[in-house]
Symmetry: D2
Subunit: 456 residues, 4 copies
């Protein structure tokens, strides 16, 4: 759960402010840290900070730096703890020059690679899997940087969507399965790479296309070159959870609109799991809103914005004092008694992970006066952890893995509880079933995902 962004101007225009804005549009993908890197006179420079983009980076400083190619990163920690030293991009000047890397995903063979590299003299500065890519390149100091990068990519396993800055070049690379999204855009002479298309919109760029699974796009002053990571798969195994929850609704990923996918999930949910007595449909803000709208449309039941989310929460740390624990989720979400009172309500959410929030909100809605609360989930039960870059808890903490549907209904305190099934999930998204990763719902992880040996 991270976001990457890169920009390259063929005519030498400054791009750092565009990178700032691109990160700004991507910060739903990571609020822990943000950073940018650029190259000046053969040396790589970085600015990074903890927290949201506007806390972590100074827009004024960035707008005054005339770099014409740059990358940026927003981070939500997956592998590697919440430390400043893990803030990305990771950058270094090594024997063959400057390099900076921004990574979204999770390498499944990071441990083995780190062990291998340390025994050959590497000193790791972070606890972040991304740093292995830098050292793999540095240990191929006889090759030019692009060849060294291609060689490094060949050795990686797992999920990666990368923006890499080399001297005079911006490189976008996506793993052979295409777990995480990565798109290309263009505005005048500037070529962009971004985790989601909404980041192209903010800088006024046009969505060109998705980077393909296994593709390496090299952007320089002469144009754009497409290379292939020399490994077999390249078949597409896109994360379905991006459509369900993670991506921004105004993004289009691998050709599918996230907004349309979410409303369709809601519509199908209304058909599969109707609720005849409902007098209103409300979404759990903000993640369940679009599915609720689809549900309301398909069931011809009024849609209400009945749970108000405090706009300031989420970007704010509230200390968990005794009083705050007492108050609980009400700090974030306030069900509107004027709407719920004495009515039967359907409440739609995108998914249930630990179940804590769901049970608290159901209870608040009852306190607000609802006669009944029917919970509808616009995706199948989440029963398995993600190894490809989303920070889900282990199975023991996943509510749907710990108990059956009826037990879970009692746990969350709903009058009824129903989930969408996997077929509807796939059809709502609209991509071929074999090209969608549904591992967190189905447990069907990539076969041979850790298939090849290290031959360094």
């Amino acid at each position: 759960m991270c976001g990457v962004f890169g920009a390259f101007s063929a005519s030498g225009r400054p791009v750092l402010e565009d990178v700032y804005l691109g990160l700004y549009a991507l910060q739903h993908r990571g609020q822990e840290s943000a950073g940018v890197s650029w190259i000046d006179h053969g040396n790589v420079h970085s600015l990074k900070g903890m927290g949201l983009v506007h806390n972590a980076l100074d827009q004024g400083t960035l707008s005054s730096i005339p770099a014409s190619s740059a990358i940026g990163h927003v981070r939500y920690s997956t592998f590697g703890g919440s430390l400043f030293q893990n803030a990305q991009p990771l950058a270094a000047n090594y024997a063959r020059g400057p390099v900076a890397i921004a990574h979204n995903g999770n390498l499944t063979n990071a441990d083995g690679l780190m062990h291998y590299l340390e025994n050959r003299g590497a000193i790791f500065q972070s606890t972040c899997d991304t740093e292995t890519i830098l050292h793999l390149m540095a240990h191929q100091a006889h090759k030019n940087p692009l060849d060294a990068l291609m060689d490094a990519l060949r050795r990686l396993e797992g999920a990666y969507s990368l923006a890499v800055l080399l001297e005079d070049r911006l490189v976008a690379a996506r793993d052979p399965w295409g777990f995480r999204p990565l798109v290309l855009g263009v505005r005048d002479d500037v070529t962009y790479v971004a985790s989601e298309s909404c980041a192209l919109d903010i800088v006024g760029a046009k969505l060109l296309r998705d980077v393909e699974p296994g593709e390496v796009v090299v952007i320089d002053a002469k144009g754009t070159l497409s290379l292939r990571i020399p490994m077999t798969p390249r078949k597409g195994f896109h994360c379905s959870f991006e459509y369900v929850y993670f991506a921004r609704p105004d993004s289009v990923l691998d050709g599918r609109s996230v907004y349309q996918a979410r409303k369709e999930l809601g519509r199908r949910l209304a058909l599969r799991c109707p609720c005849s007595e409902a007098e209103l449909v409300a979404g759990m803000p903000d993640s369940g809103t679009l599915a609720a709208l689809g549900y309301a449309e398909a069931s011809a039941c009024p849609f209400e914005i009945a749970v108000v989310r405090n706009r300031y929460v989420g970007r704010t740390f509230i200390q968990p004092t005794q009083r705050v624990r007492e108050i609980g989720v009400r700090i974030k979400l306030n069900p509107n008694g004027e709407i719920f009172r004495d009515r039967d309500a359907v409440v739609v959410d995108d998914s249930i992970v630990r179940g804590t929030t769901a049970s608290r909100v159901v209870s608040l809605i009852r306190d607000a006066g609802a006669r009944s609360v029917h919970l509808r989930i616009a995706s199948p039960p989440v029963r398995f952890p993600c190894y490809y870059g989303i920070d889900t808890p282990c199975s023991e903490e996943l509510a749907a893995a710990r108990m059956d549907l009826e037990a879970l209904r009692r746990e969350v305190g709903a009058d009824s509880l129903a989930y969408l099934d996997e077929t509807d999930l796939v059809e709502s998204i609209g991509l071929p079933e074999e090209k969608l990763c549904t591992a967190c719902f189905s447990g069907r992880y990539l076969e041979g995902g850790t298939c090849h040996d290290l031959e360094l």
Copy 2:
């Protein structure tokens, strides 16, 4: 445009963290500064800071202070510039003990009072009209603090909803016309005063009632006492713009639900100003959303969340560099091309003030591919400035005061433009016409608003 909050525990329980949370729920009323005051051993103490509540105040510090009565304030500057010295509450230890004041509103006779007081030796520390109340009290040092406060209130003209902290007492006071909202709540032995009921919800308190126009509620360990400001009006002249735009949708003010009022504004707008060709109804986020939902319901046209608001904007300062001006409103709002493309759209907003945002968003929606854009405004044209605490610009800057409807339609670039009329406004809110201030729409300011002379 400010928010006030106060809490008094009869049993000596600490309340500062509740004040923090109350301000947190009220910060849509002011993001410029926040502060709290409490009294300890006969001395008043304050913590204040610039920016949002979580930047301005430290929750950890507040939760460790055992004060059992306290007040707080969030500020959006009206009278007095954006300076730290103007952050409220204003507090002082004067001859008769400690006092702290949090004020929402705007005194129309502040200049005269300041002049009068300075000539009698007062030294003003802020440029804020609220400070006159402190000095009026200090110049009655022979009276006890409550009598001095009552005497001071008698001399004020204009709008004020106040939370005042005295030694052993919390006082809530509302001007004789009740321009700005002020509510009372209770939880166990703690009595609360707040600008809006949503701030009672967050601390788990029950809404008791509104403070009445011209009422002064004195809360102490023995209970609650209701006094009257000795002036004739007391008739109720509640701000209609609170319902249209300013208050939070989950608040109930002077007995009317803001949510229901806004949906009703939209429903009536659909009946008065229909748009037969529309294929979708979208709201201008966030202020036009509920009216759009009402419009869609009444017109049986699909409601879409078609303009995405960047959740991080609003609490963030983006520097207006050349590049940012180029990008403009797209930094905040991204119209979703997947929804608008080749369709006729109704876009609903709560009001048009300067017209700049409306014209930019209409243009973005066209760029996103809409076939036509029909703008519907869920209130009458804003043509007059507010003198009672809302920071509207002067008439020359108000779009609807500068041009007629057709000129304004061309200015904002809409295919059609229509407004709700005043009768519908009043009926949607549901309060008697004579008890609603509609001055910003109608120009009918309070008669005799500056009627009585100063007899000090």
Copy 3:
């Protein structure tokens, strides 16, 4: 124990940077806070901060402000605690315009004045006696500011050396006894007022003369005017402790060089309290150094810089942890074993207040190998508190007030201990005995110091 500085340019040259430098030279008089005030377009502005001058104030900011008259202050708290709100100058815009005051000294009738003023409506913002002067002026709003200031001064009792900034005027005022020093200087068209002459040296100004006891010097574009505070004394009662300890050695105060006075104190000490067996003379750094040098010269015994003071201490807060208490004074002072080992030493200090430091250093010197340590004090025993602006403890904490000479010798652990007598003190300083305040040594406070009643 504070320092004041002011500058007025008749030709409109910027002077704030000179004020910064003047304070820089005066910060031995106060390291708790520093501040400056200037007037711009009829409004007074201030910048203040806690700590040393370079932490409290930003030189770059000051050098960019074009004010042509300004005052500054460094504070070591006497009356009023260590709070930011007590940092000076105190400034206000009152009914008759802007005013700012920087004060060195201590008003002995502050409590009465505050009580009087509060009952007439004054709201005190600080706990600092200086604020009474502001309110006294504000309560004479019918008089012009200079007359109001003269009227206020008439009501003050105790010690004050003031720099006051009015619109178009800089005023220097010294109480009728002249407790604290105050000098005038000039460079080109700029007139300066400063607590000590060393602050004139740093800005390249020439020492003009001392402000006389009871004199008020008004500096404006037309020149300099000398007024008199209409009260009888004006006789001179200069603080002898400034010469013994407080002032900088390169200052000349009331016509006497501090350096020469200190060396003379040491010379006379050598004659009155010789030590025939001594092999070396060392000073307690830094306060005893010059007296030690005088002692060494007069006794023909070698002077050694045998106790090294850590140059970084004094401007540094070392937390009093267990380990730090164990180490004690050695953090600041390191006696050099190479010099003390197996030798008989005379150690000279300027005074003994609590006795703690003396006893610790004597013990360290013994540990460093000295055969004997003979302590010589270059002033009479300090037995009485100061009420005129120096922060001495009450009598119970003064070592020389609690015990006789022999007991004190044992307490500090010296082989012998001797003090200079009062006659030598007076003769070393070289001012007439009746013009020197020796109250902390003799207990002879100003007779009739609190003689006149308030007739306001």
Copy 4:
């Protein structure tokens, strides 16, 4: 020009606060940055900051960390710019565990080592020569850390006095010539290593002995082990400039008291370069003070502390504005007119580097009224740059290299100018001539200093 400090407690007592205090005593050796490192559960941790010790590090934090072995560093940049990433200690967890290094000196073969290591995959994080030692160790991952360290030391050329922290061990190492000082101390069960003995004094430790040239002292729970760097020299080539200027006067280095050496330099200067007409002897503060005292003693001429140094300068950055340039050195140094006026003065300094300060101070002293100013320098002319860790400028900027004695006298504006010769320098210090590096005076650099090839 850096300082190192280390502490190891055999009984597990916390030592980080002692490291803080040790650095505090050493900060005359470097005020640019300070840092500490310790090992906890097999991982190395560091805290570092820019500026003085009390700004860079938080004593409270350090006193709460229970590490029983730790090292620290204060830095004045020599090789590698003034950047946070160059702050020491440099620390890493490499394949064989944690390691941290604090370095005083300058490696003359750093460039070659960096090139060699980068081609083998090393990624340098700093621009600091010290980092080569870490990478040399990491590239010997098959050896245990101590062997890898010994192997790394064998490859270094130039000057180094090191404190190295390994798991369970503290190592002190000094290059085979012993350029920079390094001493061992002990207090109870804690063994210390420090750049100067004054840092042992502050923690109450006893000076045990100097680390010998070419010696590696390994301190662990079992005791102390002395190893030898397997290279021929080990002959002693101690920096004479440490005695002349750099070390603190209360330190004893390689068996010689710095205080005695400096006074002796002054005494011999009085004999070689007398000044019969002088009426007073003053030192240039603080570096010339002790030589001036020696000069005064030997010439029976009165010693005066006639130039006052502002105690706050040196730890303060004064911005070089136009006004500050005008005022110049007077901000730091104030010659006392009461002493210099109408007298012939000898002024003693330790050395002349660029000559700028000398010429400005001579001019100030004349302005203060001196009849004549005779400058005496307590060491030979500095004509050659230092390659062993002192940050002297290149020859073109060295005043004594650019001009002859008479030209230099005119340049500094003195009535006469005289230097001590090299023989007196050596004899004053009291170490055998062949064991003293006088390269900056004589140009006699180490023969074969870059003698051995890299055989990696």
